[in-house]
Subunit: 392 residues, 2 copies
C-alpha cells in the first residue's frame, strides 16, 4: 500500500494530479472514490499498468475505465505543466494555499485539480463571489439584466463567476469587466481553448483582468457532458447562483439545483410569463429560489453569511503578513476618501489588472472596500497594523 | 335598549341597512362598532335624531359623524330600494341566504349590505372565485396576461372578481366574458353608475352575464378613499387574489395585503424587472405571495382548500332541494358527455345568461363541472338523487 491521498502533497502528487486531469472525466464519482482510496500517485500507476480497480460492473462505466487506461498511458503531465507555464498560467491542487476549499463540498465529485490563467488568487476571490448564469440564446432582456447584474455586483465589490458561454454568461462577464470589476470564467475545456470561438477576445480579457479556470488540461475540448459537469464547479465555487433566463430543463437550472444541494443560495430573475426563456426561472422561483430584481437584492441574499463577509468585521489578517504587492497598494490609500482603481495602480506602480486582483484580495481580507467606481480603506484597514491573526 | 343587531332581521332592519349604505362610508370601523352595539334600526334613529354616539374624540372622525347625521336625515331608503327594483337589481343584507358569509371576516369593517345587479347567486359564486387585480395604466403585457387569466380561470369553472377599472381589471373581466364565463365587478360607486365611463358597455355586459356589486347605494359616486376600501371587499369575497401588474405602493398591493391578512391566498404574476409596473408585484413575491404564471397555477393554489371545493367530493345538496330553473338545467344533461352553455340554455328553455348563472351554482354545489368550453355532470351529479344534505 502507498501512502493515502493527503500525505504525498509534493511534486510527485502534483504531477499525478495534473496527469489525472487528462485521464478522468470531470465529476466522475468512481474516480473520485479511487482517488480518495489510493491517492493520485498510486491511482495513476494502477491506471497506467492496467491494474484492477473496483470498477462499475458493466456498461458505459466499464468502457470508460478502458478509456482511462488508454489515456493514462498517453498522458504527459510535464508537457501540460510546461505548456501552462508558457501561457503564464498555473495548476492548483487540493492542499495548495490557492485551492478554494469550498470545492471540497463536492465530495468525490471534487475536481482533481484546477488549471488557471490570471493574476488573482482564486481562493480569496471565491470568498466573495456570485455566479450569474443563464440561457445561451437569451433575449435582449436577459442580456440587459445579466450585464446590469455583472456591473452592479462588481461595483459592490463582488466577483462575478460564469461560464463564458454566449448569451447570459457573456453579458455577465462583460458587465463586470466594463465596470472595472473582477470576474472568473469557468470553462468546460482547456483554459487555452477559446470556446465559443466568438468569445476569444472576451476570454483573453478575462484572463488579463480576472481569472480563467478549468478542470480540463490545456488543449482539451468541450463535450456536452463536460458543460453540464462544469456547472457543479460554478455552483460550488460561489456563495450563490443567480439564474437570469432559462428554459425549462436547461443547463442553468442544473447549476442552480447543484448550488441548492450544496447549501448555496439560489436566486432567479423573473421575466415575462409569456417568454419561454423565463419559464425555467419561474419554475425555480416557485420552488425554493429567491426572487431578485437587481444587484442590491443579490448582495442582500449572499451577503448574509456573516462568516464569509470579513469586510463588515475589519481585517482578518495582520497587515504585516500581506505580500509586497498588496502591502504596496495599501500604502497609497489616504486615511479618508476614495481612490479609483487606475489611480491606485499608478500610485503603487502596479499594472492595472494586477492592482485590481490585489484590491479584491485586500477587500476579501477586510482592509479595503469597493464603493461604486472607487475603493476606500475600511475602518479596520485604517489601523497601521492589526494584531488579529488568522485565515479568511 | 333596542334588540341587538342579529334579532331584527325583518323589513325594518333591511330598510335601516339600505339607509346606512347612504350614510356611513365603506369600511368605517366606528360605524361598524355602533352597528354591532346598537343594531341598524337604533343606529339610524340615533343618527337621525342627532343623539350621542361613542364617537372618536376629535379631528376628522368627529367631523365625519356630523356628516353622517346630515346624511341620515336626508336618506330615503325606500326610494333607493325602488330605484334598484326598477334596474332589476336587489339589496342583500347579512343574514340573507345570498349574503356571502366570508365577508364577515372583515369584522367591524364588513359592508352594511350589498347592492347587486345580475342573475346569479353571489354567495354561491363567491365560493369558487378568484380576484384578478392590477394597474389601471398597465402595459400590453399586463393586459394580455390579465385577459388570459380571466379566460383561463373561467374555462376551469372559476368566477373572476375584479374592480371594473381600466387596465388589468377590465382585461380580466373581458377575458372571462369572452370565454362564456362568470365574472363579478365590485364597484366603488353605485351599481348604476358606470365608472370609468369608457367601461359603460363592459359593466352593462357584466350585469347581464355576471354580477355587479357595490356597498354604495344607487347613484353614489366614487372617491379616492372608496376605491381603496372597495379593495377589502374584493379580497374578502374571493379565495385568493392575483396581482398582474402593480407599481410599488399601488392600490392592487393594498388588495393583496388585505387578502393576506384575511387568510386568503395572495399570488403575483412576475414580469420584466426593467418594468416599474412589475416592481410592486416582485416586492409582493419577495414577501409571501405565490408566483403564478397561468390559470392552472392559480387554480392549484386556490383549489387546495378542500372544504370549499365540493366539486371533487360530489354534490353537497340533495338534488330535490334545487330550485326549478337549476333542476331544469340539470335535467338536460346526458349521463355521459359534454354540453356547451348555449346548447344547455336552448335545451332547458332558459336565457343564456340565466343558464350560465345557474351552471356556476350547480358547479359550486358539486353537480356539474366546467371543462374547457363545455359542461358535464360530475360523478356525484349523475346520481338521480343524493341523500347527503348540508350547505356548501
Amino acid at each position: 500500500m502507498k501512502a493515502p491521498a493527503a500525505a504525498g502533497s509534493g511534486a510527485e502528487e502534483r504531477l499525478a494530479r495534473a496527469a489525472l486531469t487528462r485521464v478522468v472525466e470531470p465529476g466522475d464519482e468512481h474516480s473520485g472514490r479511487w482517488l480518495r482510496e489510493h491517492g493520485p500517485v498510486e491511482l495513476m500507476e494502477r491506471l497506467r499498468a492496467g491494474e484492477r480497480l473496483d470498477a462499475p460492473p458493466a456498461g458505459p462505466g466499464k468502457r470508460r475505465i478502458e478509456g482511462y487506461r488508454t489515456r493514462a498511458r498517453a498522458a504527459h503531465p510535464e508537457r501540460d505543466l510546461d505548456a501552462m507555464t508558457v501561457l503564464g498560467g498555473r495548476f492548483v491542487c487540493p492542499g495548495d494555499p490557492e485551492w478554494p476549499t469550498q470545492l471540497d463540498d463536492l465530495g468525490d465529485r471534487r475536481p482533481v485539480g484546477l488549471w488557471l490563467r490570471g493574476g488573482a488568487d482564486l481562493r480569496i476571490w471565491a470568498l466573495r463571489s456570485v455566479a450569474v448564469v443563464g440561457a445561451r440564446a437569451c433575449t435582449p432582456y436577459g442580456a440587459h439584466v445579466a450585464g446590469s447584474l455583472g456591473s452592479g455586483l462588481a461595483e459592490r465589490g463582488w466577483v462575478v463567476v460564469s461560464g463564458a458561454a454566449h448569451g447570459v454568461d457573456g453579458a455577465a462577464h462583460r458587465g463586470a469587466l466594463a465596470s472595472g470589476g473582477a470576474t472568473v470564467a469557468v470553462l468546460a475545456c482547456g483554459v487555452d481553448v477559446a470556446y465559443p470561438r466568438a468569445h476569444t477576445g472576451l476570454i483573453g480579457r478575462i484572463a488579463e483582468q480576472g481569472l480563467v479556470v478549468a478542470e480540463l488540461p490545456p488543449g482539451a475540448h468541450p463535450t456536452r457532458g463536460r458543460f453540464v459537469l462544469r456547472n457543479r464547479v460554478i455552483a460550488a465555487l460561489t456563495r450563490g447562483t443567480v439564474v437570469v433566463e432559462a428554459e425549462l430543463r436547461s443547463g442553468s437550472l442544473v447549476t442552480a439545483r447543484a448550488a441548492e444541494r450544496l447549501g448555496r443560495c439560489t436566486m432567479g430573475v423573473p421575466g415575462p410569463v409569456t417568454s419561454g426563456l423565463s419559464a425555467g426561472v419561474h419554475e425555480l422561483l416557485r420552488a425554493d429560489a429567491v426572487l431578485v430584481t437587481d444587484a442590491d437584492e443579490v448582495v442582500e441574499v449572499v451577503g448574509d453569511i456573516g462568516e464569509l463577509a470579513p469586510v463588515r468585521r475589519g481585517p482578518v489578517l495582520a497587515r504585516d503578513l500581506l505580500g509586497p504587492v498588496a502591502s504596496g497598494i495599501l500604502e497609497v490609500f489616504p486615511a479618508q476618501g476614495r481612490l479609483d482603481g487606475r489611480e491606485i495602480a499608478l500610485r503603487s506602480g502596479t499594472a492595472p489588472d494586477e492592482a485590481l486582483g490585489r484590491l479584491y484580495e485586500l477587500q476579501s481580507l477586510g482592509f479595503v472596500e469597493r464603493q461604486g467606481s472607487g475603493w476606500e480603506l475600511t475602518k479596520g484597514g485604517r489601523q497601521p497594523s492589526n494584531s488579529r491573526r488568522g485565515g479568511a
